[in-house]
């Protein structure tokens, strides 16, 4: 699309957002205020519903997906404009969804026509809430070590085993799963990619409490669960390709962590928590340095996001996407430690009224940052990937 028509598109988007985004939806959503969709979902409030429905009707819950599946049909440049314009007025995402972020792109690549029609549309419309079934107890980083078994029973698979880190499996409608369909094959071979309705008999979940005090994750158990064969994505035993494609999207998502989620920013809260000297500098030079180093790092990460986008626009093949998960979560780690350093004893509150909501959030954010460098491929796995795929060091 030419620069001119992009400019035209930008003003249209800006106008539409000004007309359609309720004012209450123009502040960062607190965790409880996000709309995740699904059969059991309720809207946190009427404005959230209005905003969701308007965006859904434009196809802008999934701006880049084809219009035939309910998406917005935008190209990457247009999608970025929409994102930038939403960011400019701090508009909330109308729908938060693993289906949009992760499953959808994989289905677009590997799903058959029937699957695309059935699942993509439901995702865009917020009708299905999805969770992810990759890791297993004992096989955290070793995704190819899948033990969860799916036996071929003619018209269906019989699934037995368990998955861990299934985020909010307790409220999800569907789970996308890596299962082992062939035990003779080695590692990556013999794995299949299955879509499973969480209401199927034999599925149960239990919540895992994290050090941040949150319980976003579950362990999910499959006990003789029957899954129709039509729920297989791609070929049987060849699910690893689907899985890898999806992992790319997860990495991308993780690398953008913190850019959309409302969070306590050490740069903006500093003034309330540290003292300054006569020159206007933070008096504790170590805290000041820590803040500056975080600030400089996050700037570099932001610029690299932008460079990656520009390179794709210009069809330049760059390596930056492969580092984004590492540096994005590293930035969150630095942010968490900077918050604790800046806020001192104020950021050590776990509960109770003696600490403000911001203070308690800062602490939880710090604790959650410890999860980010592990989930979605640990720091170590990311470094392995860089060493192998980019640097091509001997294995």
């Amino acid at each position: 699309m030419s620069m001119e028509s992009l400019d035209q598109f930008r003003s249209e988007v800006r106008q539409w957002l000004a007309d359609n985004c309720p004012v209450s939806q123009r502040t960062p959503a607190q965790p409880g205020e996000q709309y995740w969709g699904g059969r059991r979902a309720e809207f946190p409030n009427a404005d959230a519903q209005l905003w969701f429905e308007r965006m859904r009707d434009k196809g802008w819950t999934a701006p880049e997906w084809p219009a035939e599946y309910g998406g917005g049909g935008l190209d990457e440049a247009q999608a970025k404009i929409l994102k930038d314009e939403m960011k400019a007025i701090a508009a909330r995402p109308p729908l938060v969804s693993l289906g949009i972020w992760m499953l959808g792109p994989a289905l677009l690549e590997y799903g058959n026509q029937q699957q695309k029609e059935k699942y993509l549309t439901a995702i865009v419309r917020g009708e299905h809430r999805w969770c992810q079934g990759y890791s297993e107890p004992g096989y955290g980083s070793d995704l190819a070590g899948v033990q969860c078994r799916a036996e071929d029973k003619g018209d269906h698979y019989l699934v037995n085993g368990s998955k861990i880190w299934t985020s909010r499996a307790d409220v999800a409608d569907w789970i996308f799963c890596l299962v082992r369909t062939n035990t003779d094959a080695i590692k990556q071979e013999g794995i299949s990619f299955l879509l499973i309705d969480m209401e199927t008999e034999g599925i149960s979940t239990s919540l895992i409490e994290l050090i941040s005090g949150e319980s976003e994750f579950c362990q999910t158990f499959f006990d003789n669960v029957k899954v129709p064969k039509e729920n297989l994505v791609g070929e049987a035993d060849k699910g690893w390709s689907v899985a890898k494609s999806l992992l790319k999207h997860e990495r991308k998502l993780m690398s953008e962590m913190g850019t959309d989620i409302p969070s306590v920013d050490p740069r903006t809260i500093a003034r309330d928590y540290v003292s300054y000297n006569a020159e206007g500098k933070i008096a504790n030079s170590e805290i000041r340095r820590q803040l500056a180093e975080y600030d400089m790092y996050i700037q570099a990460v932001g610029l690299t996001h932008f460079r990656g986008f520009e390179e794709r626009m210009h069809n330049i093949q760059g390596n930056s996407p492969l580092i984004m998960k590492y540096v994005g979560t590293e930035a969150e780690r630095l942010k968490g430690e900077a918050l604790l350093a800046l806020m001192g004893s104020s950021a050590l509150g776990w509960e109770g009224d003696e600490f403000s909501a911001t203070e308690k959030q800062a602490l939880r954010q710090w604790a959650m940052s410890k999860t980010l460098t592990i989930a979605g491929g640990t720091h170590e796995i990311q470094l392995n990937i860089i060493a192998k795929r980019i640097l091509q060091l001997p294995q």
């Binding site: 070590g145 994290l210 050090i211 504790n284 003696e354 602490l363 410890k370 592990i374």
Partner: protein, 379 residues
């Protein structure tokens, strides 16, 4: 200076280790945390500890203490780091006991030290006015009134302050924030009129109180040391507290490290023990070098309390700054190396991470102590 424990100290340490592993393993602390226990530590256990003499370990014999020296106390506190013991050992037996020993008059010592040593009362040091350690920045005021003083202000982050029987208040009788001259210490009954204590629940599952002081009347006999000259007592008291915290951090860093090394030997991924991955080996080895260096620094600091009072400030800052940094490194790495299980509440490793961050802030973060160390060394 001795950098090895003598026979008596070694015996004390191994006794402490056995006692704590038996009576207060990490599970006990977890129960305490989960039950939101009002006291924040086990009263029964504390009495046992006092019966062992630890509460009075640095208190002279004439006041009912063991008079065993600070190095022994530090050895015990290091062991408490291994099991995450929640107790008033640092607030009462290190900070408050030291303040009384160094600054109390005969009557004050007789009134409080024996009870402190036998565990029948606890004391807490109410120091911080704000969210960053800044003893010279205290502006809580003590204005003359009726031959005594009226104290006004707000104290935060007072270790075990909600349950202490007596509080040692740091207040300003003259001078301005930033000056050492003009600080005074007062020993007040925690139930005195004008004192409102609120317990806070912190990330480490322990407690520190916020304390409102509104026209708290103190008499001349409640002054600890000399008026305006509290700093001469407070500074060595704080240095002892810092060394005690450094010892605790050392113990908990070793424990988190040892548990991680064990995990590296057990956990398999990609068909091999993850401890065979060289990247993890090197990170573990680097941590090991830091912990070995820390052993020397903390032991030296503990011995300096009794042997080298003149060198104490720099030595204490060296120890606290180092243990802040090493503890941060080791607890972060411990969680990361445990992977997914490391960030669940179910595993104990997260408890070490959380305690680390609180102990790092207590009595001075790394920036505070590096700055102080540099200043004391003339740059």
């Amino acid at each position: 200076m001795s950098l090895v424990l003598n026979e008596e100290q070694t015996l004390l340490q191994s006794t402490a280790r056995d006692f704590l592993l038996t009576n207060s393993p990490v599970d006990e602390f977890r129960k305490l945390r989960d039950s939101r226990d009002a006291l924040g530590y086990s009263a029964e256990l504390w009495q046992q500890i006092a019966d062992l003499g630890w509460a009075g370990i640095i208190i002279p014999e004439q006041y009912g203490g063991l008079e065993f020296g600070f190095q022994g106390l530090a050895a015990i506190i290091e062991e408490t780091g291994h099991t995450l013991l929640a107790s008033p050992l640092i607030s009462s037996s290190v900070l408050s006991a030291s303040a009384l020993v160094l600054g109390g008059n005969e009557k004050q010592k007789n009134d409080f030290l024996p009870q402190l040593a036998n565990g029948s009362i606890t004391l807490a040091l109410a120091l911080e006015d704000g969210n960053h350690h800044d003893p010279l920045g205290v502006t809580t005021s003590a204005n003359p009134s009726d031959g005594g003083w009226l104290v006004n202000g707000r104290k935060v982050f007072v270790m075990d302050g909600h349950s202490a029987d007596q509080l040692i208040l740091v207040a300003r009788t003259s001078g301005a924030a930033g000056e050492s001259q003009g600080l005074s210490l007062f020993l007040v009954d925690a139930a005195s009129a004008g004192i409102t204590r609120t317990r806070t629940t912190m990330v480490d599952g322990r407690n520190a109180a916020n304390i409102e002081l509104e026209n708290v009347a103190v008499g001349a006999d409640q002054l600890l040391g000399t008026v305006d000259d509290g700093w001469t007592i407070l500074e060595p008291v704080l240095d002892r507290g810092r060394i005690a915290l450094a010892a605790e951090l050392l113990g908990s860093a070793w424990e988190a490290f040892n548990r991680t090394v064990e995990y590296l030997k057990e956990r398999e991924q990609f068909g091999v023990k993850i401890g065979s991955f060289q990247a993890l080996q090197h990170r573990a080895s680097i941590m090991y070098t830091e912990l070995e260096l820390s052993n020397s620094v903390v032991m030296h600091a503990a011995s300096a309390v009794d042997d080298d009072p003149a060198g104490l400030p720099a030595i204490a800052s060296l120890a606290k700054a180092r243990m802040n940094d090493v503890s941060k490194l080791v607890t972060n790495e411990a969680v990361q190396m445990h992977g997914g299980i490391g960030v669940t509440d179910e595993l104990d490793i997260g408890l070490f991470l959380k305690r680390s961050r609180v102990a790092m802030q207590l009595l001075g973060d790394s920036g505070y102590h590096k700055d102080r160390y540099a200043t004391l060394n003339g740059y």
